[in-house]
């Protein structure tokens, strides 16, 4: 396994602290006295498993996406170049799916960020029963998404006996036929409910990492709570919001569970993941579905990039 020169360890001991081997800003390697070979041996199993389980299938997906292949007619399988992509872009279901994905992901991320920031601020200050309140807030994150979708659909959003309409009634507002009239809203609300705790946790970690000295200095200087929040806390929170948004949107782009369970893709909720599922496992169009898979990966990359850029802009402008 080892390919390094056996003298490495010995020279290092002799020379005292060894030079950092290829330090990177993300992960500066720590000093150690053993040979590189052992480290590689420790890393390889995980690397191989990861490559076999994720990269190899993706490469095969790319290959499939260039095939004309329906499982009902396996004999007709042939290489088709970019036929599937041409078909995907020319039929309407792709664009409406892309729109559904962007609308659902975008709305959920925005709502979860706003609510997450609010919860984080509220839960950061000391009050009686704070530990219990935090436990209650993180619970939706722990709830199985399939269970969450079912409970929301039948127990919360149901038109005549659901709790949401009952609550609206208490406030004197009219009932809404959630499941039939606004399926997109139901999916977004359930996802927001499940992702807000995740955002809250990360943002809370951000709030707690603020330097108390700076906050005190600001209040001594006579800055009000709101001013302190906008000019010190928010800029400090930028990287935390960025990470939460990035991780959240990457998960949400692939969203499948509530769509499959609550709406079955009706009413503008047919996300890319659900469309792929339909084409592959209902329509048995392997080639076309594989093309959706490749496109989903590309969209993930784009959304992650755009999310980061936009946020960066909002925060830098907000602090000036």
């Amino acid at each position: 396994m080892s390919t390094t020169t056996p003298s490495t360890a010995a020279t290092r001991i002799a020379d005292g602290p060894p030079p950092q081997p290829l330090p990177g800003p993300a992960a500066p390697p720590r000093r150690g006295l053993r040979r590189l070979g052992v480290s590689r041996a420790l890393l390889w199993p995980a690397l191989i498993v990861s490559i076999v389980l994720t990269q190899v299938p993706f490469v095969i997906t790319i290959y499939y996406s260039l095939q004309s292949w329906n499982l009902l007619r396996p004999a007709d399988q042939r290489f088709a170049w970019f036929e599937n992509y041409a078909r995907v872009f020319s039929n309407g279901s792709f664009l409406s799916s892309l729109l559904a994905t962007v609308v659902i992901t975008g709305s959920t991320v925005v709502l979860s960020t706003v609510l997450g920031l609010l919860f984080a601020v509220l839960l950061d200050r000391p009050f009686r029963g704070r530990a219990l309140a935090r436990t209650m807030i993180i619970t939706p994150f722990l709830i199985m998404p399939a269970a969450a979708a079912l409970i929301w659909k039948w127990s919360m959003f149901e038109a005549s006996t659901g709790m949401v309409n009952w609550g609206l009634g208490l406030l004197g507002l009219p009932s809404v036929a959630w499941n039939t009239d606004v399926p997109v809203a139901t999916v977004i609300l359930v996802l927001t409910w499940q992702y807000t705790p995740f955002f809250t946790l990360i943002l809370l970690a951000g709030l707690q990492s603020q330097s108390r000295d700076i906050l005190e200095a600001s209040s001594v200087d006579g800055a009000g709570a709101w001013r302190t929040f906008t000019s010190i806390t928010l800029p400090h929170m930028r990287q935390y919001v960025e990470i939460a948004v990035l991780l959240g949107s990457i998960q949400l782009v692939q969203v499948f569970d509530p769509v499959a369970i609550m709406t079955r893709g009706s009413g503008g909720t047919k996300t890319l993941a659900y469309l792929l599922y339909e084409r592959a496992f209902v329509g048995l169009e392997v080639g076309e579905a594989a093309a959706y898979g490749v496109i989903t990966v590309l969209v993930t990359i784009v959304i992650a990039t755009v999310a980061l850029r936009t946020l960066f802009k909002v925060f830098t402008e907000g602090t000036r």
């Binding site: 081997p21 990177g24 420790l42 389980l53 299938p57 200050r125 209650m136 989903t296």
Partner: protein
């Protein structure tokens, strides 16, 4: 002596200041109380669906879906009996097998890898880390079709071990990422001391490093368990009967006809219980693990 000299002046100036502070203090206390009240209001609304699910599970079916809602029901355990009469146990066992099994394998692979990436010297740490985290970001949709066809060819569809191995692939990157941030907090001197003392790799790992990062291992293991237990997409596509796990079982539990809300709530309550309890008990590790995995 200094105290004596300063004390009278301090009390003298403190008195009027103190009075002013009481007025401001009262105002602040009222405002603080209002914010606390608002906090609890928001928390209760947010938590309500969970509470309502549990309450509904203990209602008789005829009181489960009513308008207006029934708050004082004739509480009963009937629905739980019905759930197990519909044979939920095998699905729970499948879920347990896939989640616990995949979590153990993930930890066995992730701890050495994270160790190599944080404490031991290795070339291209950044590349390796970037690779792992990028596989986490790759949508499952990108690989489901070949995975399905390969499992079909091998006769491994509806096989719980196959699902377990796939969960290893899903959870491995996040476990490595989290373990690495926990391991990089281990003081390097301790490891070096052990190495100079001539400790073998195994001793170094098991006697020195692992005891220090045990809470981190618990956190990473918990996150992997949660993701695997709750996973729906792969489970619904790759299993049908023998290896069916809880989430797809739950999803096909009701067809929307007749009265089913109490029994559905009972099944959901059972399904979410292991993860919710584990999450509550290990809340500190969970929060820390998530924050670290996400930020470092």
């Amino acid at each position: 002596m200094t105290t004596d000299a300063l004390a009278p002046r301090a009390t003298a100036s403190a008195r009027p200041l103190g009075r002013r502070l009481t007025a401001a203090g009262t105002r602040r206390r009222i405002r603080g109380g209002a914010i606390t009240l608002l906090t609890w209001g928001v928390v209760v609304v947010f938590f309500f669906p969970v509470l309502w699910m549990v309450l509904t599970a203990f209602k008789p079916e005829r009181q489960a879906a009513t308008d207006p809602p029934t708050f004082l029901a004739d509480w009963t355990l009937d629905s739980f009996g019905k759930v197990f009469a519909r044979d939920m146990a095998p699905y729970l066992i499948n879920s347990l097998t896939a989640s616990v099994g995949s979590t153990i394998i993930v930890l066995l692979l992730a701890i050495p890898a994270a160790y190599a990436l944080s404490i031991r010297p290795i070339v291209k740490v950044r590349d390796a880390l970037f690779f792992f985290i990028s596989t986490r970001f790759m949508p499952v949709a990108a690989s489901i079709i070949p995975v399905y066809l390969i499992l079909q060819t091998l006769g491994l569809l509806d096989n719980i071990n196959a699902l377990m191995i796939l969960y290893v692939g899903v959870n491995l990157p996040i476990a490595i990422w989290m373990m690495r941030s926990f391991l990089s907090e281990v003081p390097v001197e301790i490891v070096e001391a052990a190495q100079i003392d001539g400790a073998k790799l195994r001793t170094e790992l098991f006697r020195v490093v692992i005891p220090i990062v045990l809470p981190g291992i618990a956190a990473a293991g918990l996150i992997c368990f949660i993701f695997a237990w709750n996973e729906y997409f792969l489970a619904s596509i790759l299993t049908s009967t023998a290896a069916r796990t809880t989430p797809p079982f739950l999803a096909s539990f009701v067809d929307g006809r007749g009265f089913f809300l109490a029994v559905l709530s009972a099944a959901s309550t059972i399904a979410v219980l292991p993860v919710v309890i584990a999450g509550w008990v290990a809340q500190k590790q969970l929060v820390r693990g998530l924050a670290m995995g996400a930020i470092k």
